[in-house]
């Protein structure tokens, strides 16, 4: 709690915000898309963080919520022309329901730790294969959303130039950050930390651990659903094999694990470090003519390995200590 008491100097925060807001004026579209990707991973990482960092439940199947959110909003748009703002609600509702089912089953039956992680993987895999056979959403061939013109900002249908997507993602990430900062300092935040530290002691203090864990799962699922909707309207094509795949779930956790689970800045820092370094490595390899499939992921694995071995709490805490936060 002391580490993330968010006594973050306001100037650091406003400085960061100013840079991020002004970024598009200094970089081209490619860099902007990289920045959007960083923010996307920071956002989903933050959403995952609520479940893991706050409530202490390790989910390795978070791609489930991205996928269901994406398909829900995507299907509404594809079949009924309903825009993403309405589709958002269906996405959130479905993902919260799913999260609550998983959470309820797990907590009711006392499943935690590794078993819980396996349960989340199983649900995600089950859904992936299910969608592969679900004709209405296009089956394995995927679902393609109409790509309208990309020059003007069409917020109603969430279509526009890369700039629009960048600011949307920035807004979402900032919102997630603010939400988590607020949660951490609220009763919920204290209760989640207590449950994470010692559930039995928490219960002896009047905390209904079951309900609070479910709340964390629900919030995490809802936030991730929004990322799914963004995904659908940003990439415009959805394939079960990709969107539900366990690699997506692992990508989601890389940011927070590397940056620092349970911290506010961890996901953003981790996502930035990972994406920028991997882009750098890709470029270097291209220059050397060594563009082999799989290199980038080996790199991810190595970074994850080093962080887990040498900086088990992530990159952010030592930095925060240096900055005396």
């Amino acid at each position: 709690m002391n580490r993330n008491r968010a006594l973050t100097p306001i100037y650091l925060l406003t400085g960061l915000a100013a840079i991020l807001v002004a970024l598009p004026f200094f970089v081209g579209n490619y860099a902007l898309s990289v920045a959007t990707l960083i923010l996307y991973f920071a956002y989903t990482g933050q959403a995952w963080n609520v479940m893991m960092g706050f409530a202490g439940q390790l989910s390795l199947g978070h791609a489930l919520y991205v996928g269901v959110g994406a398909y829900a909003a995507g299907a509404l748009f594809f079949y009924y022309g309903i825009g993403p703002w309405a589709g958002l609600w269906l996405a959130i509702a479905l993902c919260v329901a799913l999260g609550l089912v998983i959470g309820f089953l797990a907590f009711r039956f006392g499943i935690s730790g590794v078993y819980f992680a396996l349960l989340t993987i199983a649900f995600a895999e089950f859904t992936r294969i299910g969608f592969d056979h679900f004709g209405w959403t296009g089956g394995p061939g995927g679902m393609f959303l109409r790509v309208a013109q990309r020059d003007t900002w069409d917020l109603a249908n969430f279509r526009g130039p890369p700039l629009m997507y960048y600011y949307a993602m920035l807004f979402l990430t900032a919102g997630a950050f603010a939400l988590c900062a607020w949660l951490l300092r609220s009763r919920a935040g204290y209760y989640w930390q207590a449950i994470r530290e010692d559930e039995e002691a928490a219960r002896a203090l009047g905390i209904n651990a079951f309900r609070w864990k479910l709340l964390a799962v629900a919030i995490s699922a809802a936030m991730t659903a929004v990322a799914g909707v963004f995904f659908a309207f940003y990439y415009n094509n959805l394939f079960p094999e990709q969107i539900f795949h366990i690699s997506r779930s692992i990508e989601i956790i890389l940011g927070p694990v590397i940056g620092g689970v349970g911290t506010l800045f961890g996901p953003l820092l981790g996502a930035a470090v990972l994406t920028l370094l991997s882009d750098g490595i890709s470029d270097a390899l291209n220059a050397l003519g060594l563009d082999i499939p799989g290199v980038k992921q080996v790199f991810y694995g190595l970074v994850l390995l080093c962080v887990v071995m040498f900086l088990p709490h992530g990159i952010w805490p030592p930095i925060a200590r240096r900055l005396r936060l």
Partner: protein
Amino acid sequence: MSLLEVRSVSKHFRGLRAVHDASLDVPHGEIYGLIGPNGAGKTTTFNMIAGVYAPDSGEILFGSAPIHGLRADQVCAAGIGRTFQIVKPFAGLSVLDNVMVGAFLRERQARAARELSVRILERLGLGAKRELPASSLTLPDRKRLEVARALATRPKLLLLDEVMAGLRPTECDQMIAVFRELNRADGTTILLIEHVMRAVMALARHICVLHHGEVIARGTPEQVVRNPAVLECYLGEETEV
């Protein structure tokens, strides 16, 4: 008028009879002791009151409302706070944050919870250490923290599980003073399980003695120490006096 009534509770664990037909009454505003040799069933009784598990038979009434079978968090919400024999601080949190977790039961706003927590910590002599990580405290301080945390839930009844264990005599005396003060100033009713006779004799107005899961004696400390059945069950047992 009893604040806590335990009526004929029994508990079996796979054929082992841990507690059998035990009853006790804790009057309002009193300090009540529950003693007995190891394996007597004190902790089992304690856990039944605290909601860790339900009795197989019998009733437990708290202020005339039945609480047997309620979950631990419901029991706390009803007004019973408890400490653990082996202390369980939230190690990653500061001392203040530990207590705030307890305070949030009654105070929804963080500011009010913090104020309540600071007051309680001051009372227990931990005020100066409130920003320290809980993991850095010494054992006596951890015990105080445990009590502070339970107090933050504003309990009408405080259950203390061998809170003197591991404390040196002077530290023990300090804790005794704390509980006396709590009982005197706030009227907090206290039920304590203890092995340390010094504490029981100093604090308890009435004592209940368990042996092999059954109540073998009840009365004031003076009556109980002279009771032949009690003396017999303690012969050969190690007791700190």
